[in-house]
């Protein structure tokens, strides 16, 4: 089986089909390690990526005023048990452009490997980017996954990100996102993680509301079982009149797992407002009993509640 086939065969695990690579209307990049296995662009999109011995490096630009109709698929991963992958990418969504990026991170057989991503995302005035990142890991753990990103959201621009790691055992995950929002801009960051075995999860998301009437939401849902550990930090700062932010973290802990949540809110303007809520614990007893009173076993009830939270 080729490296391309090895990676794309698990695409359905993150909600995609390998046939997307054959569709000429759909832009894509497939990277294995530091090799680009496949790529396609579409009108309005510039993909300037290159292979180096240390990383896949480059730039992606959605040109001003363009709406990319089909999602742009970015498949990165490792087709082997060991190895390293580093990606350094700058993304420019120019003024009034709109795009949706589906990033598939695939590590089906990794046992001792590393995946690092360093991204800089610049969303111009009135532009919109929806970034969905889905991870698929095999059962082995042993990965070191370090996605770091800085995002600048221009005047009236929108950024929606949705990170999910719901299958397999990752090993160690260390996310660090910094998002700055200008006037009338919107940032919504959602993360859903199901950690197992000895997984170690560190998630830090920071939203800085710099502009007037800017808005930010950090929503995190983490379920931990076995001996997994998680530390979730959600930071929102509001610096301008009418800025509104909210941090919402929920962690469900099962087995010997341990979790901590650190919501930090800072307000630097009297007409700004930031709120937060955090809940850590076992599955809600009332939810559990309600489902059991309809005939579900305790195991079925927990499974249903957890799947709902991570949806």
């Amino acid at each position: 089986m080729s490296e391309l086939e090895e990676l794309t065969r698990v695409l359905p695990m993150v909600g995609a089909e390998s046939t997307i690579l054959d569709d000429e209307r759909i832009a894509h990049v497939v990277g294995q390690g530091h090799h680009i296995l496949s790529r396609r662009s579409v009108p309005g999109l510039r993909l300037d990526l290159e292979e180096t011995p240390e990383a896949i490096v480059g730039k992606m630009t959605i040109q001003a005023g363009v709406t990319i109709a089909q999602p742009i698929h970015m498949c990165f991963g490792l087709a082997h048990p060991t190895g390293s992958q580093r990606i350094q990418i700058d993304v420019f969504v120019e003024e009034r452009a709109t795009a949706r990026v589906l990033s598939h991170c695939l590590f089906p057989v990794a046992t001792e490997a590393e995946h690092r991503m360093q991204a800089m995302i610049d969303i111009g005035p009135g532009a919109s980017l929806t970034y969905t990142e889905g991870h698929y890991h095999g059962p082995h753990g042993g990965m070191l996954v370090i996605p770091h990103a800085t995002v600048k959201i221009g005047k009236g621009a929108r950024y929606f990100s949705d990170f999910s790691l719901l299958s397999g055992s990752v090993g160690s995950l260390d996310i660090d996102y910094l998002v700055e929002v200008e006037e009338d801009g919107i940032a919504e960051l959602t993360a859903k993680i199901f950690a197992h075995k000895t997984d170690r999860i560190a998630l830090k998301e920071t939203v800085v509301l710099r502009g007037e009437r800017s808005r930010g939401l950090i929503k995190t849902r983490v379920v931990l079982e076995d001996n997994a550990l998680a530390e979730i930090t959600g930071i929102t700062e509001a610096h301008a009149k009418g800025a509104r932010g909210h941090v919402d973290c929920m962690e469900i802990v099962q087995g010997q797992a341990q979790a901590s949540a650190i919501p930090i809110v800072r307000v630097f303007h009297p007409e700004a407002k930031v709120t937060h809520e955090a809940a850590i614990g076992s599955v809600d007893k009332k939810e559990l009993e309600t489902l059991m009173a309809r005939g579900l076993s305790p195991e079925q009830a927990v499974e249903m509640i957890v799947s709902g939270i991570l949806r």
């Binding site: 007893k285 309600t290 309809r294 079925q300």
Partner: protein
């Protein structure tokens, strides 16, 4: 017994005898007796703190609700020896006064729990909610209290219970929609089920076949709903001590 005659003994659906439940030294339920027959709607009235919801939780087997004494039989089986979901499998269910909210779970999923081939639409229609608007909504905080209550009743209806314990089913329901709630209760009975109806609302209690008044953890008056409502109305319990019930008219 008359020699040569045949007697048919109909065992009750639910039989509660001498049921006692304590929290620390305080008796919440005190030697409570109650019987419910198949297809009977039995209204349970009582002031706040009289033990109505405690009885509901104890019958359903909620966590921490273990009686200090007494027996409960359900269709002849020892209910207290069963776990919560085992009681539900027998046909017992509970609609909470403050129903739980579920992140991510749709109304469609909630109304078809474990029965993926069932059609939830008639249940929503029965409680006065439009399936096109509600089936794909989530059973979460975005629903109003009244909407959530109606979905809870639709959920109870969907499992065709043998005995449904409804704890204040009309709480938060506007006056114009009370008839939907009453219709649900009647439908449970038409489907062959019985209802233990915990309520403060007289127009809801009035549809029952029988009623009881609970006071300080004991049933102090039972009979026709109209009489029990009359007994309950305008009186304030000041003391229940053994066989002596102290009341004042207000």
């Amino acid at each position: 017994m008359v020699e040569g005659a045949w007697y048919v003994v109909i065992s009750p659906l639910l039989g509660i005898r001498d049921l006692t439940f304590r929290v620390s030294d305080q008796k919440i339920l005190d030697r409570l007796d109650l019987t419910i027959q198949p297809r009977e709607i039995h209204a349970l009235l009582g002031a706040n703190g009289s033990g109505k919801t405690t009885l509901a939780y104890l019958l359903m087997g909620c966590d921490g609700y273990v009686p200090a004494a007494g027996t409960v039989t359900f269709e002849g089986a020892d209910l207290l020896s069963l776990k919560m979901h085992e009681r539900a499998k027998l046909g017992l269910t509970l609609a909470w006064q403050e129903p739980a909210r579920f992140e991510g779970i749709t109304v469609r999923e909630y109304l078809t729990l474990g029965r993926s081939n069932s059609n939830p639409e008639p249940m929503l229609v029965q409680v006065g909610l439009d399936p096109d608007r509600y089936l794909d909504r989530r059973v979460d905080k975005a629903l109003s209290g009244g909407e959530r209550h109606r979905i809870e009743l639709a959920s109870v209806l969907s499992i065709e219970p043998t005995l449904a314990i409804l704890d204040e089913p009309a709480a938060g329901i506007d006056m114009l929609s009370i008839n939907h709630i009453i219709n649900v209760i009647r439908t449970i009975k038409e489907n062959g089920g019985a209802v233990l109806l915990i309520t403060h609302q007289e127009e809801v209690a009035a549809i029952a076949d029988s009623a009881s008044q609970l006071c300080n953890g004991r049933i102090i008056f039972s009979g026709d709903p109209a009489h029990v409502i009359q007994h309950f109305r305008g009186r304030t319990c000041v003391r229940c001590d053994g066989e002596v019930y102290g009341y004042v008219r207000t």
